[in-house]
């Protein structure tokens, strides 16, 4: 798309340089000369091509492209280039499949193709010329050899049989008969089957174009007989460009921002965009010489909220002012704004803040957005986006359309404390022993240590040197985390455990991408301990443990975890009460394989599975609890520390040797740092020491 756009711009420049800019002086000022030339040409070609004097002629019907020229045919350059080459080389296929979302030019392209194939211009490069008799006939809509079939209403096997009969007759006016089958996915199965033979080897004088929005509904047997082209949504820039051209030729004086709003609203569909332009242009004063379109009108008609309202709502959430949030919603509904629209805009704005907070620099962000973004932590913003994303699903069950949105605002505010707790949990305990739950005017500092890490770890491929780059995290506003906190180096089991627990939700999501069944298993397990080459998961139920310890399952989990810890680690699942409270040093091989199949617990306390609707962060809260659970009785675990190793397979054996070769390495690193840890860690460390000492005496 990018390079095509580039070449298009190049051609514009060429034309401009070749002297056409003489027209410039004739045109109204205020737009780029290139565009004016384009617009003029287009207007001329298009109005000449415009069909019968229909009474109601939408802009999107009037401005269908009439040639593959870049000035006309925008957005789908990859399609245009291939089709043009096919025409030039006379290698047009007998069947095409055009798929893509609505309003991306499928039908228009099909008609263009039909015209180009039938064009009589000498030079194939020029086709369609829009001048020869064939082109003129097509443009006037009087051709009988281009047959458009609405598959939705002619979907039966009888319709297709009828088509098969007619296919045999030679075209009457043109060289090649074109069948354009719109909404092709609507054909019935029998109809498709009846169609197959014709589609595979039609007579030379017949070509087919199948257009559909849902290509996956077509049988493979049909799809494989066609050349498939995927139409993409139009990027905002080219939509704006096209709107500009149309506006010029329609004598609409449109503000740039207005066009931008329209383009954004139409989400990549040119038909939507032109329809909106048409509709909005009517809004202005009809008696004036030129029709005027400004951004204010667009907002009003589309029911868009001003940015100020969105900012106000986010500020209300930040300031925990529920009344203000509710007032803004009432104000919006009173102003006749669409409540779904408001919610969508709200999500869009929160997403912008999320991008900012994560260190991105979206072009539409201004100073206000940056300031607002810094009032939240990344987790809070994530929770907010999630809260507001759920609004649409809940809506309209009751007769208060705005209530789901109001509830979301209230939840965002009264859920704030919980959100803050989550932030506290995922960060290393040393960073913030205690912290007021309400966000202070500059809360950026408190949650910061947790964030840069999670950002980085979730994109391991982008950052090849995790440990070294830690002191300079990406987002500028966040202060660096604890100096030289190494990410997950060997032996920092504690550190790595925190890291895993903090990212457990991400990990599960990544696993889900590979295999959702395993992800479901993982939802009942939590990282409970880390030795220097093992990650121990705790799962209260026998079933989950057995499954997770199966080779095929384990390998998937290991593969995903590897991306988070940047090295190969074995994964073992055991019951929470069997998890040893030690780190790497104690992981010496032990002859007691008891942990592999611990006594089945009739009713172990289930891993917290919050069912309360309002709990915004269930996953993040879970691991911590599990990890700290067995602590009170560390001594009992001494006898069977870490050696479940249920399947004595090859990797496990190498693991064992690796363990014995580096047994005590991590301990010295651990000692000095852990002294400054907060209480829970001290307890854990004490447990570790006890075990270590116990082992030494034993040995």
């Amino acid at each position: 798309m990018l390079d095509c756009g580039g070449s298009g711009a190049g051609m514009n420049a060429d034309r401009y340089n070749s002297g056409l800019h003489a027209i410039e002086s004739l045109l109204p000022t205020g737009t780029d000369p290139d565009q004016k030339v384009d617009a003029q040409r287009m207007a001329k070609e298009m109005t000449s091509a415009a069909t019968a004097p229909a009474q109601s002629q939408s802009l999107y019907r009037k401005y269908r492209p009439t040639s593959f020229e870049p000035s006309q045919y925008i957005g789908q350059e990859h399609v245009a280039r291939t089709l043009r080459n096919a025409i030039v080389l006379d290698r047009v296929a007998h069947a095409y499949l055009f798929c893509g979302p609505r309003g991306t030019g499928k039908t228009s392209t099909a008609r263009l193709l039909a015209k180009a194939v039938n064009c009589e211009a000498e030079d194939p490069e020029q086709r369609p010329c829009n001048q020869c008799a064939s082109c003129a006939a097509v443009n006037s809509g009087s051709v009988v050899d281009i047959i458009e079939i609405d598959a939705a209403s002619n979907r039966g096997v009888d319709d297709i049989r009828d088509l098969r009969e007619k296919v045999r007759y030679a075209p009457t006016q043109l060289r090649v008969k074109f069948y354009i089958i719109d909404e092709a996915h609507q054909l019935t199965r029998d109809a498709f089957n009846a169609f197959l033979k014709t589609l595979e080897e039609p007579p030379d004088h017949v070509k087919f174009v199948l257009a559909t929005t849902e290509a996956e509904k077509l049988p493979d047997t049909v799809a494989s007989r066609c050349q498939r082209f995927d139409f993409r949504r139009f990027p905002v820039e080219s939509t704006v460009q096209h709107l500009k051209n149309v506006a010029v030729s329609e004598h609409i004086d449109a503000e740039e921002e207005a066009l931008l709003l329209i383009a954004r609203h139409s989400t990549g569909s040119l038909r939507d965009a032109l329809g909106l332009l048409d509709q909005l242009a009517l809004y202005g004063d009809q008696n004036a010489e030129k029709r005027v379109l400004n951004a204010e009108t667009v907002r009003q008609v589309l029911g868009l909220s001003h940015n100020e309202r969105l900012i106000g709502m986010v500020e209300a959430i930040a300031g925990e002012d529920a009344g203000e949030g509710l007032r803004l919603i009432t104000e919006a509904t009173d102003a006749g704004e669409d409540i779904h629209q408001l919610n969508r805009q709200m999500i869009g704005y929160l997403r912008l803040l999320l991008h900012l907070r994560a260190g991105g620099k979206p072009p539409e962000a201004d100073d206000t957005a940056v300031k607002l973004a810094n009032r939240f932590s990344l987790d809070q913003l994530t929770a907010l986006v999630r809260t507001f994303s759920e609004v649409d699903a809940a809506s309209n069950k009751s007769s208060y359309p705005q209530l789901p949105l109001e509830l979301a605002v209230v939840r965002a505010i009264v859920g704030e404390q919980r959100g803050a707790n989550v932030v506290e949990m995922v960060q290393p305990p040393a960073a913030a022993p205690s912290r007021p739950s309400a966000p202070t005017p500059t809360p950026a500092q408190t949650p910061a240590p947790a964030e840069p890490r999670s950002i980085r770890e979730s994109r391991p491929a982008a950052d090849t040197k995790p440990a070294q780059s830690t002191p300079a995290p990406k987002p500028a506003p966040t202060p660096p985390p604890r100096p030289a906190a190494p990410a997950p180096p060997a032996g920092q089991g504690n550190e790595m455990l925190d890291h895993l627990q903090a990212n457990w939700a991400h990990i599960r999501r990544d696993v889900k991408a590979e295999n959702s069944r395993i992800a479901a298993l993982l939802s009942s397990a939590d990282p409970a301990n880390v030795t220097d080459d093992k990650i121990i998961l705790a799962a209260p139920y026998e079933f989950h443990r057995t499954k997770l310890n199966e080779d095929s399952v384990r390998q998937v989990v290991e593969r995903v975890l590897e991306q988070y810890v940047h090295r190969k680690m074995a994964v073992i699942c055991m019951a929470p009460e069997d998890v040893p409270q030690t780190f790497a040093a104690t992981a010496a091989p032990s002859p007691a394989p008891t942990a592999a199949a611990p006594e089945p617990e009739p009713e172990p306390e289930p891993v917290p599975e919050p069912t309360t609707i309002s709990d915004p962060e269930p996953e993040a809260a879970a691991p911590q609890e599990v990890a700290s659970e067995p602590e009170p009785a560390p001594q009992e675990t001494v006898e069977d520390p870490v050696e479940p190793d249920p399947e004595p397979d090859e990797p496990a054996a190498t693991k064992a040797t690796a363990e014995s070769s580096t047994p005590a390495e991590p301990e010295p690193v651990e000692e000095p740092e852990s002294d400054e840890k907060a209480d829970p860690d001290a307890a854990r460390l004490q447990a570790a020491r006890n075990i270590f000492e116990a082992k030494e005496t034993k040995e």
């Binding site: 009474q55 209403s153 509709q279 809004y283 069950k397 009751s398 359309p401 209230v410 309002s614």
Partner: protein
């Protein structure tokens, strides 16, 4: 309005200035789109606007004074006997259906095909053939597709007016082919003013305006409907008692569950809806927006039921109500669903 300060039309529509303005301008300038989609909640005036638009299109009067409301065309459109204006709805489908016994829940592909063939005929009396399709939300999936091609490029003399409740629920392919006219609820003062004009006492007008939340057609209906108002008052009283006393609430949901089992599902849903309304009023009150409450007549009793309502509690209560609505819709045992709802409500005496 920004671009226009003077009223350019004489449409008999209350509120919806921006929508009416657009349509009136389209009529006057002759730039009519081939398809319009009106969306908005029930009773907000979608049908009225669509019919008025149809009248304006076929009216015999000068462009500027359309719809005149007095010519034969205007009159006959109102009666539904004008040949160039066709209306399709669930109701009309049922009336024309040969199989009277069949369930009439969706607009079928046959109905749409009939519409298409009728639309392909040239208009008989006016310049336009107008087809009004109501209940577009209830058009079956296949029928949507059958509609698409017509909707994209109908004959030049055709104008299609689609009426639906929720824009977002319609297929994208339909949405992108129509000009969307969103009809939002009117603001409370506008509705109240209209009711006062029709002779309703101030206080009552305000209450009805609050209760109907900007759905003007609904408000006018309710204005004359003593019985419904009376029922509402009783329900609200019960609702306040339920919120104030968990025991009452438990007893009451037991009754509601029985009612639900006997098949009066709509009634139960309305009751829950009312409870949602009451909780929302509390929410607004506690959050410092006492003026926005719906059931203004009982807000005092509500707040005195528990003087220290907390925002988080109310929010949970509301979510419990929504959950109950959802549970009922997926056939959870009614008593279980309703009990669960009530149990999650904060207890007035025992909070904080």
């Amino acid at each position: 309005m920004g671009t226009s300060t003077t009223q350019v039309h004489n449409w008999p529509i209350i509120g919806h200035e921006s929508a009416v303005d657009q349509l009136a301008r389209a009529v006057q300038s002759g730039r009519i789109n081939h398809a319009y989609l009106f969306t908005g909640p029930d009773g907000v005036g979608r049908r009225t606007i669509a019919r008025t638009f149809a009248r304006a299109l076929v009216c015999d009067a000068e462009l500027e004074s359309r719809p005149c409301g007095t010519c034969s065309a205007c009159r006959r459109v109102g009666e539904g006997s004008y040949p160039d204006v066709t209306t399709v709805s669930l109701e009309s489908q049922l009336a024309s259906s040969e199989r009277k016994d069949s369930r009439n829940t969706v607009i079928s592909i046959e109905t749409i095909r009939e519409l298409r063939s009728s639309v392909s005929l040239r208009p008989m009396e006016s310049d336009w053939r107008v087809a009004i399709i109501e209940d577009v939300d209830r058009v079956s999936r296949d029928a949507y597709d059958a509609l698409l091609k017509t909707l994209e490029e109908p004959p030049s003399y055709v104008v299609l007016l689609l009426i639906a409740t929720e824009f977002a629920a319609l297929p994208e392919t339909i949405r992108s082919r129509c000009r969307h006219i969103s009809l939002e609820p009117l603001s409370r003062p506008v509705v109240a003013e209209e009711l006062r004009k029709r002779g309703v006492a101030d206080e009552q007008a305000d209450l009805i305006a609050r209760l109907t939340r900007g759905r003007i057609a609904r408000a006018i209906e309710l204005m004359a409907d003593e019985e419904t108002l009376e029922q509402r008052n009783e329900s609200v009283k019960r609702g306040v008692e339920m919120i104030g006393d968990p025991l009452v609430a438990l007893a009451e949901v037991r009754r509601l569950a029985d009612v639900y089992r006997r098949g009066q599902r709509d009634h139960v849903q309305q009751e829950i809806d009312l409870l949602i309304g009451l909780w929302r009023d509390l929410l607004l009150h506690v959050a410092g927006r006492p003026d926005d409450v719906t059931n203004i007549d009982v807000i005092g009793e509500l707040t005195s039921a528990g003087p220290d309502w907390r925002l988080a509690d109310i929010q949970r209560a509301l979510e419990a109500c929504y959950q109950a609505l959802h549970d009922l819709s997926v056939n959870v045992q009614p008593r279980l669903a309703l009990n669960t709802m009530v149990i999650q409500w904060p207890e007035p005496g025992n909070r904080g």
